[in-house]
Symmetry: C2
C-alpha cells in the first residue's frame, strides 16, 4: 500500500520529498501572461469572454446579489449553517489574540519614534470553484482579515455552468463579513483584483488558494499587490510510538492523501509493529472511501512509513521535512512537541486529528507547505496589517546627533545625505 523505509537505509525518499516543488510550466506561463494583459487592457469585456470560455457560462453582472445570498441561507441545511457559525467563532477567538497595537517611544519631548499598525484597506480573497469550493477556505481567509479591520473584503470565486455559487460558500462569506462577492475565477479573476475593472474593485492584497493558473497569476502580480504564500501540495507527517492507534494513523494519512495526487502522507515511527499494522489498516480503509483512486496514487507517489531507531531520530526527520501538518501520536505529546522546530501546525494526541484543524478548532488552515515552515508562518491577522514608522526629532535632539549622522553618511559616500543635516545648522 505504501513504501516502508528504514530511516538508516533511506536511499532517496526524503530527498525526493524535499525536492517536490511546483514546476513552472512554460505553457501556463504564456496563457497567464496573455490573460493578465487582456484583463488590464479590456477589463470587464475580457473578463466576460474568459468566464464564458473557462467557466462555460455567460455572466452579465459579476456581483452576487442580496437575493442570491438570501437564497443560499434558505437552501443550506440548518445544521451545516450552525457548524459554520461555530467554526467561525472558534477561528475568531483564536485569531483575535493576534491583533497588535501601534507603539511609540518617547525621549522627553525631543524624540518621538513610533510604529503605526493599521489594516490594509482593500483585500481580495480567492476561493476555488467546482469540487474545491470550500466554505472553510472562506472562513480561514476572511475572518482574520475582518479582525485586522480591513475596510473592504472582496471575494471572487468561479461560478458553475448555471452561473451559481455553492450555498455553503455564500453563507460562509456572509457570516465571515465579506463585503462583496463576485462570480469570477482563474487568472482572469486575479487580474481583475490587481488592475481593477468596471465592476471589480482593485485591491491591495490577494489571498487564497487556487489551481496552477491562479497560483502563477498571483506570483506574477506579486509586487503590484501583496499576496499570501503560494501553497504547494499538502502534507502530513505523523510521529507515532508503539502506543498509538494504527487505525487513527491510517485514517489521518489517508485524509491528507485524498487532497490530490501530489499530497504527501508520512508516518515516522520507532515501532516496527505500528508500521506493519498501519500498512494493513491503510489497505482496509482506502477501499471504503469515495476518493480511493486519488488516495492510492498519492500514497504511491509521496506516501511513506519511515522506521527509525528512536524517538529522537523521528523528531530529527520531522524537523528536516518541516511538514505543513504534524501529528504527534505518542504517550507524551506535550513533552515531545517542544523539540519540534519546524512545522506549520502541530496536532497533539490521538483526539486531535488534522481535519479538526482544517475546519474547526480555530487556528488557520492556510499553512506553510514544502518545508517552508522553516521560515514561514500560518496565515494570520498580521497578513492583513501593515506598519508605518514614525520619526520626530526636535532641533536639540538632531543637534546632539548631527555629527554621528554626518560621519556615517560621509563614510557611505552619500554627501547629499550629509548635506541634508548640515543645511539645518548653517
Amino acid at each position: 500500500m505504501i513504501r516502508i523505509i528504514d530511516s538508516i537505509k533511506d536511499s532517496g525518499f526524503l530527498k525526493k520529498l524535499l525536492d517536490r516543488s511546483q514546476f513552472e510550466f512554460e505553457e501556463v506561463n504564456k496563457v497567464v501572461d496573455e490573460i493578465l494583459f487582456n484583463i488590464r487592457e479590456r477589463k470587464d469585456k475580457a473578463l466576460k469572454e474568459y468566464t464564458l470560455k473557462f467557466d462555460k457560462v455567460e455572466i452579465d453582472d459579476f456581483l452576487v446579489s442580496k437575493e442570491e445570498i438570501d437564497d443560499a441561507f434558505e437552501n443550506i441545511d440548518d445544521n451545516l449553517k450552525n457548524d459554520l457559525l461555530r467554526a467561525k467563532e472558534n477561528i475568531e477567538k483564536y485569531h483575535t489574540k493576534q491583533l497588535k497595537s501601534s507603539y511609540t517611544l518617547h525621549d522627553g519631548e525631543d524624540i518621538i519614534l513610533g510604529q503605526i499598525i493599521r489594516p490594509i484597506e482593500k483585500v481580495g480573497i480567492y476561493v476555488p470553484g467546482g469540487s474545491a469550493a470550500y466554505p472553510s477556505t472562506v472562513l480561514m481567509n476572511a475572518v482574520p482579515a475582518k479582525i485586522a479591520g480591513v475596510k473592504e473584503i472582496v471575494m471572487i470565486t468561479p461560478p458553475n455552468k448555471e452561473g451559481k455559487i455553492k450555498d455553503s460558500v455564500l453563507v460562509a462569506a456572509s457570516i465571515a463579513g465579506v463585503d462583496k462577492i463576485y462570480k469570477v475565477g482563474g487568472a482572469q479573476g486575479i487580474g481583475a483584483l490587481t488592475f481593477g475593472t468596471e465592476s471589480i474593485p482593485k485591491v491591495s492584497k490577494i489571498v487564497g488558494p487556487g489551481n496552477i493558473y491562479v497560483a502563477m497569476a498571483k506570483k506574477k502580480v506579486a509586487g503590484y499587490v501583496g499576496i499570501d504564500m503560494i501553497a504547494g501540495p499538502s502534507e502530513i507527517l505523523i510521529i507515532a510510538d508503539e502506543h498509538a492507534n494504527p487505525k487513527y494513523i491510517a485514517a489521518d494519512l489517508i485524509s491528507q492523501a485524498e487532497h490530490d495526487e501530489m499530497a504527501a502522507s508520512i508516518l515516522v515511527t520507532d515501532s516496527q509493529k505500528i508500521a506493519k499494522k498501519v500498512n494493513e489498516e491503510l489497505k482496509i480503509q482506502v477501499e471504503m472511501l469515495e476518493r480511493k483512486e486519488i488516495i492510492k496514487k498519492s500514497l504511491k507517489n509521496y506516501g511513506a512509513i519511515i522506521i527509525t531507531s528512536s524517538m529522537n531520530e523521528s523528531i530529527k526527520i520531522a524537523n528536516e521535512v518541516a511538514p505543513e501538518h504534524l501529528e504527534i501520536l505518542t504517550r507524551t505529546p506535550f513533552d515531545l512537541y517542544k523539540q519540534v522546530k519546524n512545522a506549520g501546525a502541530i496536532f497533539l494526541g490521538e483526539f486531535s486529528p488534522e481535519p479538526l484543524g482544517d475546519y474547526f478548532a480555530g487556528p488557520n488552515h492556510t499553512l506553510p507547505t514544502s518545508s517552508t515552515s522553516k521560515f514561514a508562518s500560518p496565515l494570520g491577522v498580521e497578513d492583513f496589517l501593515k506598519k508605518t514608522s514614525l520619526i520626530y526629532y526636535s532641533k536639540e535632539a538632531l543637534m546632539k546627533s548631527k555629527d554621528s549622522i554626518i560621519r556615517i553618511a560621509e563614510d557611505e559616500g552619500l554627501t547629499a545625505h550629509a548635506n541634508s543635516i548640515k543645511v539645518r545648522f548653517e
Copy 2:
C-alpha cells in the same frame, strides 16, 4: 531644475511614477539562471570562478578571519565606530518593542490551542560591495535578526579587487552580532546561501538589498528560502506648506535623488511661493554636491513639484503615491500625519530629515517602495520570526465537535477527512 506640475492639470506624471516598476531583463534572467544552476551543482568551485570573473579577485577562503575583523577595528576612525555603536543602540531600542510572545488559549483541560513564535534558525544577510557598501545596511538587517533570536546570522558581501571588505562594514557586522562573514557577492552569493556550498552554510531566509542580479536571484530562490521584499528604486515625498523652509526641502529632495537615476523626489505643496523657492534652492545646492550628475538625472526622470489647491489634496496625493519616505514639513505635522494612510516611514517636522532615519533614529531603513506601503511594512523583528500553531483536543472535546466537523467535511466532499473523525468514535 525640476518639473512643476499643477495637480489639477497633471497629464501623466503621477501615472508615470506609479508605473515605475522594475523591468525583468531577459538577459539578466538567463545569466542568473545559469549562475544559480552552477552554484547548486559545483558549489565552491563555481563560487570561486564567479568571484574571479565578477569581483576580479581570487579568493581561497571566503570566510572573513578574526584577524581581518581586528584589523578593521584598528583601522576605523574611533568617532565613526562610536557613531555606529550609537546607531546600533537606537536600532536595538526601537526594534526590541517588536518582539512577540507565543500564546495559548485553554478551555479547561479539554482544549488547548496555541501559537508558538520562534526565531528562524539561520538567516543570510546580503550587503552590497563597492560604492554601495554601507555599514547602515548591516545594522538595519542584522540587529532585528539578533533581537528575534536567530541562532546563526551569516553575512555575505563581495570583496574588492584586493580581496578586502570595507572596515566600517566589518565593524558594523561585528557590533551587530553577525556570526560569520563571507567574501562573496552577486547572484552566486544568493545561490550559495540557498543551496549551501562546502564553505557557505545553507540558510532559511535571505534579506538585504542588491543590484538587479541579486534582486533577480532572490526572486528566483524565493520559496526555497524566505526572502524580504525586493526593493524598487528609492522615493521621498515631502508635504510642505508655506511655513516650510525651502532650503531644507531642497536638501532633502536631493538627498534622495543622489541614490540613483531612478530615485523619485517629489514635493507636494499648496504654496506657489514655496514651489518657486525650492526650485531655486535645488539649482544652488545641486552644484555643490559630489554626486551632482546622478542627482540631476534623477530629478529630471522622476523629480517633481506638485502644486495643490489644499492640504487635503496634498495628503490625497501622498496616499495615492504611498511613498517609501514621507516628510511632513508643515506647521502641524502631528495633526496631519494621522490622515496619511500609506507610507513606509513618516518624518515629522523640520528637524527630522530622512537621513536621520537612514542611519540613526532607530526605525528600520528597509522600507516598502513603489507604492507597496499600501500592503507592506518596514523590515522588522517579525521578519525573523516564524509561527507554528498548536492544537490539542481531549476525547470529550472532539466528541462535542465531531458532528460539525464531519458535516463540513462532507459538504466539501472530503469524505476521508470525515472518516478520520469517525474512526475515533467507532
